[in-house]
Structures are given as structure tokens and as C-alpha cells.
């Protein structure tokens, strides 16, 4: 399990940035400043984790890439987003999916009244290829998510949370993407299911060469499966590094894993310390 990610990471670092977000500022409703200049890169074939607390701007970052922001009255007001050397920040989600960038939204968002299989088939909407090819993709998804195959004819609304998350990821895979933006896949799921899903993500990454940018609150799990991580706070990247380094970094441990050395700190102290630290760095 450990050999695949390192090889993927090393080949990735050799190539130029694949997806790059440059100094992006996002404003909702013309007044609410959510991202204050976020920059990050995802290498080809990499898994990059975007970590941070509630409201830090993780989802907004993903949505600014997939351009689902517009539907929520958000706008990228500064900066640029490039994918494979082309600017993508003005493209519609439809164009982006055709180019290979697709987002799996937070909270799964399956089509409740459609069956699992119909859900998966809608994922292939943007592809103009033969039925045989779509059938092949469907079989591929079923090999990765064998649970979905057994539930293929049940309405998605009646399946379990884990199955819905798998359905949402499978649906995105049906679009034959190169880059999946995965928003909070662990939300509301049992730890066992979370592991199962992350294992599948890792598999998809190493066997199907799909790159992932994943936003997670579950820092520990995310850093175990990612190659690289960014930590977002109040709409700014405050720290970045190799996943392994981040996982052992004392600050990260303290603030995001809750593994502080010298007992519990009060919120006020922590905030104070954090703020000072940011000014200096």
C-alpha cells in the first residue's frame, strides 16, 4: 500500500503543475469575502488534501475550481485557475466536466428518486461515446464499488450513507475524469466506511490515474492517504507540506488533530498563539 503513493508522487513532482490555483479571492453576494488569496497546486496523479476547520473555505476553494460557485452567487474576483496549461476560471461546469475536472459535492447529493444505476448513468451525460464504452465504465465502477452492484436497482434515497457516498464518487468516475474534487467524503460516515472509501480513492488514483483534491475535516485519515497537504484557515493557506511531514508536525497535531502535548488549552489562548504565529511567518 505504501509503494504506490511514493511512486505516484515522485513522477508527479517531475512534471509541471497540473492543476494550479493562483492567489484566488472569492466573494459571495458581492460582499462576503471568503477566500483571501489561496494558491495551491495538484500534480498529475497526486492526491492532495485540503484541511481546515469549519468555514475555513475548503468547499469554496473546490467550488471555485469546479465553478459551482456561480450558482451560489459567489464569484472569483482575483487570481486565476489553470488546468493543463489553460485557464479554467470562466468555464461552465459542463465544459469543465468535459475537460476532465469534476466535483463530488459535500453531503453526497445523489439523485434520491433515481436508482443507483441511473445515478451512475447520469454521470456519463457529458460523454458522447458508444453505449459499449459507457457499459465498460459502468462495469469499472462496479468493480471498485462492489456494494453498488448489489444495490443497483434500489432508489438511491433508500440506500445507506456509505452507499450514497460511493454512488456519488462512482457517478463522477462515470464522466471519465482526470481530476476529481472530493468534498468531505467522510462526512457522517462510520470510521470503517471512511477507510473503505479512502482505500477505493487510493485505488482509483494508482490504477486509473485519477488525481484527487480532497477537502477534509478528518485530518488524520486524509493525511494518511494523501501525498501532499494544505491547511486552510480563514480563507488563507497557513501551512503546506508533504502529508507525512504534516502528520508529524507539532502545530498540526496540536491544532487539527487535538494531540497537544501539555494538556488542554483554552480556545482563547490557542487563538492568540495562532494569530501571533501567523504574523511572524
Amino acid at each position: 500500500m505504501n509503494t504506490a503513493p511514493t511512486s505516484a508522487a515522485s513522477t508527479a513532482s517531475a512534471t509541471a503543475p497540473y492543476l494550479s490555483v493562483n492567489n484566488v479571492e472569492v466573494i459571495y453576494d458581492h460582499v462576503i469575502l471568503v477566500l483571501k488569496g489561496v494558491s495551491l497546486q495538484v500534480p498529475k496523479g497526486g492526491i492532495v488534501a485540503l484541511l481546515g476547520a469549519n468555514g475555513a473555505g475548503k468547499s469554496t476553494t473546490l467550488k471555485s475550481i469546479s465553478n459551482l460557485l456561480r450558482a451560489e452567487r459567489g464569484d472569483v474576483t482575483k487570481g486565476s485557475i489553470d488546468f493543463k496549461g489553460a485557464r479554467i476560471d470562466q468555464m461552465t461546469p459542463n465544459d469543465l466536466v468535459k475537460r476532465g475536472v469534476i466535483q463530488v459535492m459535500e453531503g453526497r447529493h445523489c439523485f434520491g428518486h433515481l436508482t443507483i444505476e441511473e445515478n451512475l448513468l447520469t454521470g456519463a451525460y457529458t460523454r458522447s461515446c458508444s453505449r459499449a464504452e459507457i457499459k465498460r465504465s459502468l462495469d469499472l465502477v462496479y468493480t471498485y464499488f462492489s456494494r453498488l452492484k448489489t444495490r443497483r436497482s434500489s432508489q438511491a434515497g433508500y440506500t445507506s450513507g456509505g452507499e450514497q457516498q460511493m454512488c456519488a464518487i462512482g457517478r463522477a468516475i462515470m464522466a471519465n475524469p482526470e481530476m476529481v474534487l472530493l468534498d468531505e467524503p467522510s462526512m457522517g460516515l462510520a470510521p470503517q466506511i471512511v477507510e473503505e472509501i479512502f482505500e477505493i480513492v487510493k485505488d482509483l488514483n494508482s490504477k486509473e490515474q485519477v488525481s484527487f483534491l480532497l477537502a477534509e475535516q478528518n485530518t488524520m485519515v486524509a493525511l494518511r492517504y494523501a501525498d501532499f497537504g494544505y491547511i486552510l484557515e480563514n480563507g488563507r493557506i497557513v501551512m503546506e507540506g508533504e502529508a507525512k511531514e504534516l502528520a508529524t508536525n507539532e502545530d498540526v497535531k496540536e491544532f487539527y488533530l487535538g494531540l497537544g502535548g501539555e494538556g488542554r488549552k483554552s480556545f482563547r489562548e490557542v487563538k492568540h498563539y495562532r494569530r501571533r504565529k501567523r504574523w511572524l511567518s
Partner: protein
């Protein structure tokens, strides 16, 4: 017994026409979650546009008045107008309101209905017009001879057209890629957007199809009652149909229409005399009210799925 059958069949056939109007509501509700209050106005607009073109075309093109060439050309032009109306609705009304609460969209369609009525009458005038489809409103002969039951030929043909329309729409929704995308959009706008389904295209398609259905409904209703402003109120008869059949089901619209049509006629004939008549106009609403108490999602409507 023979009289009962006559009333029943007459009721069922008029029910098909209610279903036709209800179908327009279902299409738009299914795909965009919007209860389109403007559907009645669209029926009116479609019928008036068709009749209007039928009047002016002989003058413009020199075609023979009342000929089949004029009929089909007027039909085509009316259809194009409905599709353009659909596209404009999407561009001007729906697109700026993506992801707004349903009530906002509903209010927008109320405004839209006034706009459409106004435009229709502004362009074509407010006179009552006759519409001749070339189908006679006479009893079907073989039925009359064999079992002595009077059934209008017009009603039968109209029901046939509606039946074909419904069957093809049901198939479209269930088995095609577009149909699947339509249902997906109905379930969750944002998720549909996230997997690259272009909402705009879908809405244009839906409003276009709803316009087509409105045109057919308008032509049939117009041929029965004359093309006039009151056509917009036929849409109100679609409400109990929808409540009975379910807002999201194409077959539901049909079954609901049949039940409403048959029951209102039967009630008028058999219950009416005891309460002084005039039941027909309010009986469907009472039925709908009772239905809401027992089965609010309708006979075929989708149950609201909640995770607990």
C-alpha cells in the same frame, strides 16, 4: 345502464383533456421543481397564436384559406413561437433564479402568466375566435348502431391524441439519456450541475416540450369552447387532477384526469339533482381536498424520501 355508460365515457374522454393540461404542469414540475402557474396562460397563448397565424397566413402567402397547408404551417409557426417562449422564459426568468427557494420561482411564474396573457392579447387581439380542427363533434356511428351509446367522435380523437402524447412522454422520461437527465435535474439542481448537466439546455427542452403540450391542449380545448381568455382557467381544473395523480407522475396526470373527468360527470348526473345541480364545477376540488387528507403525494407521486 346504457345512460350510465354514456355519462361515464363522456366523463372519461373529457378527463383526458384535463390530463393534457395537467401534463404541462407535470413536465415542468418534474424537471425544475417549479409549479408553473403560467401553464394556463401558455395554453391560451398557444391556441391564440395558432388561430392568429391561421387567419393571417392566407393573406401573407396566398395559400388557400382553411386548407391543410395553412393548418400545418400555422401549427409549425405556433410550435416555434412556443419554443421561443420557452427559451426566453429560461433566459429571462429562470436563469437568474437558479437555486432560489421554490416559492420565489413560483411567484415568478405567476408574474409570467400575466405577461404571457398580455402579450398574447396585445399581439392577436382579445376577440373570441373559433377553431376548426376538421373533426366533427358527432356520435360515433358504429358504437351507436351496435350498442346505442352516444360517444362524440371529436372526444374520441382528442383522447387518442392525448394518449399517444402521454405514452411517448412517459417513454422519453424513463428510458432516454435526456429523460434521465431531466429526472436528475428535478431531484437536485446542484448535483446535476456538478456532473456537467447543463441546466439551461434541460430547461429549454422542458419548456419547449411543455409549450408543445400546451399547444395541443390549446387546440383541442379551443376547438371545443372557442379560443378565448377563459382558456387560462382550464388550467385550474388541472389542479385537482395533479393532486389526485401526483405532481411528478406523467401516468398520474392521466389517471387523475380520468378520475376527475368521470367522477364530476357522474356526480353531476346522479348526485346533482339532490342538491340542486351545478356540482360539476366544484366536485373535483372536494375530491382533491379529501385526497390531500389521505394521500398527499397523490396516487403516483414520488414519496418524499427522508433519511432519519
Amino acid at each position: 345502464m346504457q345512460f350510465f355508460l354514456e355519462v361515464l365515457i363522456g366523463g372519461l374522454l373529457s378527463g383526458v383533456l384535463y390530463a393534457l393540461v395537467a401534463l404541462g404542469f407535470v413536465l415542468i414540475f418534474k424537471a425544475s421543481g417549479v409549479f408553473n402557474f403560467a401553464q394556463g396562460a401558455m395554453v391560451f397563448f398557444a391556441a391564440l397564436t395558432f388561430v392568429g397565424f391561421q387567419e393571417v397566413l392566407p393573406g401573407w402567402t396566398g395559400l388557400e384559406e382553411g386548407g391543410s397547408a395553412v393548418f400545418w404551417l400555422a401549427f409549425a409557426l405556433a410550435l416555434v413561437s412556443m419554443i421561443i417562449l420557452g427559451i426566453l422564459t429560461e433566459k429571462i426568468v429562470l436563469r437568474p433564479l437558479v437555486n432560489q427557494p421554490h416559492i420565489t420561482l413560483f411567484m415568478a411564474t405567476i408574474g409570467l402568466s400575466y405577461l404571457i396573457e398580455g402579450i398574447a392579447q396585445g399581439v392577436w387581439g382579445a376577440n373570441v375566435r373559433g377553431l376548426d380542427l376538421g373533426i366533427e363533434d358527432v356520435p360515433v356511428e358504429w358504437l351507436m348502431e351496435s350498442s346505442n351509446i352516444l360517444v362524440s367522435k371529436f372526444d374520441l380523437v382528442a383522447a387518442g391524441i392525448a394518449g399517444v402524447l402521454v405514452a411517448s412522454l412517459a417513454l422519453l422520461f424513463q428510458y432516454t439519456k435526456i429523460g434521465r437527465a431531466l429526472r436528475a435535474v428535478a431531484d437536485d439542481h446542484q448535483a446535476a450541475l456538478s456532473i456537467g448537466i447543463p441546466l439551461q439546455h434541460i430547461w429549454v427542452i422542458v419548456w419547449g416540450v411543455a409549450g408543445f403540450v400546451a399547444l395541443i391542449a390549446g387546440m383541442i380545448w379551443g376547438a371545443r369552447n372557442g379560443v378565448q381568455f377563459a382558456l387560462t382557467y382550464t388550467a385550474l381544473k388541472a389542479l385537482p387532477v395533479l393532486i389526485l395523480g401526483g405532481f411528478t407522475s406523467v401516468p398520474g396526470a392521466i389517471v387523475g384526469g380520468l378520475i376527475i373527468g368521470a367522477s364530476e360527470k357522474l356526480a353531476e348526473v346522479y348526485v346533482g339533482p339532490f342538491v340542486g345541480g351545478g356540482i360539476e364545477s366544484w366536485f373535483p376540488y372536494v375530491l382533491a381536498l379529501l385526497f390531500l387528507l389521505v394521500r398527499p403525494e397523490g396516487l403516483f407521486g414520488e414519496k418524499h424520501i427522508d433519511r432519519v
